[in-house]
Symmetry: C2
Subunit: 272 residues, 2 copies
């Protein structure tokens, strides 16, 4: 029998916990503790912070998996720290480290929101997306505060959503992206099903000169919500709701196919 693993067979559901803030982040500890009430937990997370890595995977280098001491109030749970990205964590856990397919993959709880256009840059979401690509139910959780001192309300909502998903499942090819406002539990008004707000970053690069007189650039920017419609994730959070956005990774713009087929592709089509 391998050590540092959940049981090979169990009555309980198996829940894989990942993140992008790193295995030592308080958010993943709060999430694992919440999941511990629902099933067998295994933690596989990056050894270092991996923010804004998007859907990066490690293909040109090897990945290491270091057994990690991860102590919850109920006792230690099996855990690995990975020298890779959040998507690597999901891949390696599901394909190699786990004794059976997990019933649920959760990622987070991220420090800071993963809303609107930011989802595309999110490592937290990419771990869940990778799990969904592998055919599993997956949920990403983020707390809308940059320096949160209390993950407990978010963890309670993570438990509510995870319990529901373990019971009813998620449609194939869909990830639930959940953002929790930074409010006390009793001040949160409930869950609202939302869409990603239309938004963008007004960016600039700060140019500085290093001690060797060479320039370097640092990304800086201001987030702008361009969406005045209803039921966006940003609106829900501003109004004190947890936002739950179903996201998918078929990037085809299906609505545009018919129009594009009517375009004259000129020279290119001459041989048809």
């Amino acid at each position: 029998m391998k050590t540092n693993q959940p049981p090979e067979t169990s009555e309980k559901p198996l829940i894989l916990v990942c993140n992008d803030d790193g295995i030592d982040a308080p958010g993943i500890y709060a999430l694992a503790a919440a999941m511990d009430a629902l099933g067998d937990v295994m933690v596989v997370a990056p050894i270092d912070e991996q923010s804004a890595v998007g859907h990066s995977i490690t293909v040109r280098d090897p990945v290491r998996a270091r057994p990690w001491r991860f102590e919850l109030p109920s006792g230690a749970v099996p855990a690995y720290a990975i020298t890779g990205t959040p998507a690597d964590c999901a891949k390696l856990a599901v394909n190699h480290l786990l004794p059976r397919p997990p019933d649920l993959v959760v990622s987070g709880i991220n420090k800071g929101p993963n809303t609107a256009v930011n989802v595309i840059y999110s490592g937290t979401v990419s771990a869940a997306t990778e799990a969904s690509i592998l055919g599993l139910d997956a949920v990403a959780f983020s707390l809308c505060a940059w320096n949160p001192d209390d993950f407990e309300p978010a963890a309670r909502y993570a438990e509510i959503v995870a319990r529901k998903v373990l019971q009813d499942g998620i449609p194939p090819g869909i990830v639930f992206n959940v953002n929790i406002p930074a409010l006390p539990f009793d001040a949160i008004k409930g869950i609202e099903v939302t869409r990603l707000a239309h938004s963008r970053w007004e960016e600039s690069f700060v140019e500085r000169i290093d001690p060797l007189n060479q320039p370097y650039y640092w990304l800086s920017g201001r987030f702008v919500n361009l969406d005045e419609g209803d039921h966006t994730d940003l609106e829900a959070i501003e109004n004190g709701f947890v936002s739950l956005t179903p996201i998918q990774f078929d990037l085809t713009a299906h609505d545009l196919l018919a129009e594009l087929r009517s375009w004259d592709w000129a020279i290119a089509d001459r041989r048809r």
Copy 2:
């Protein structure tokens, strides 16, 4: 006047050329040479290969931009090699290095296909997606061969597509993802407008033991096309066509919103 820049004003369109294989890759040279026939060209590309980085951006570290000698048959064009990801290249070029917004951003020509589920991991596509997020027309080009010896047919199709886009534009929020089969130009049957094929990787991690007796893991896998429908990118390429797939980055699963709103979110909704 800044040096190493295209003209601040010009009759010609300005075309930004990026990639993920690195500024020294033959594919970006072939693409820049093709674009040189259509407008003023500027090349901004990673100094090293950045495959499979997905939509990664560099936020915790500075980025360097090194002026680079990039010689085309018509003479040198302004170019920078970037210590960052493909998405960083698009961001830094548009926000800082270019004297005016580009009329078109092209990325590639990638060595190897960016089709089906692989689009989500693609650095080549992410440079184009980032440009689209910034409000620009953008196209990603990939050649469906892992060790191509001839980028010329792909470059000719890049010119055809770019000419069309410069003339007619691309709907906002859409990127054209173009894959070119590894065939002689005269054997390619034309352009087909496609959707991304439903596919997955059957993956495994090769476990090896290093000289210090520690394990490491290397991602390995076999790509499987699960899609038997018509008009997929994989089918088009197999049949000798260039595939052109419109992709978008609003990840919301809009079709599912109504159903999810009918779910009983139990405790969570108790306060409504």
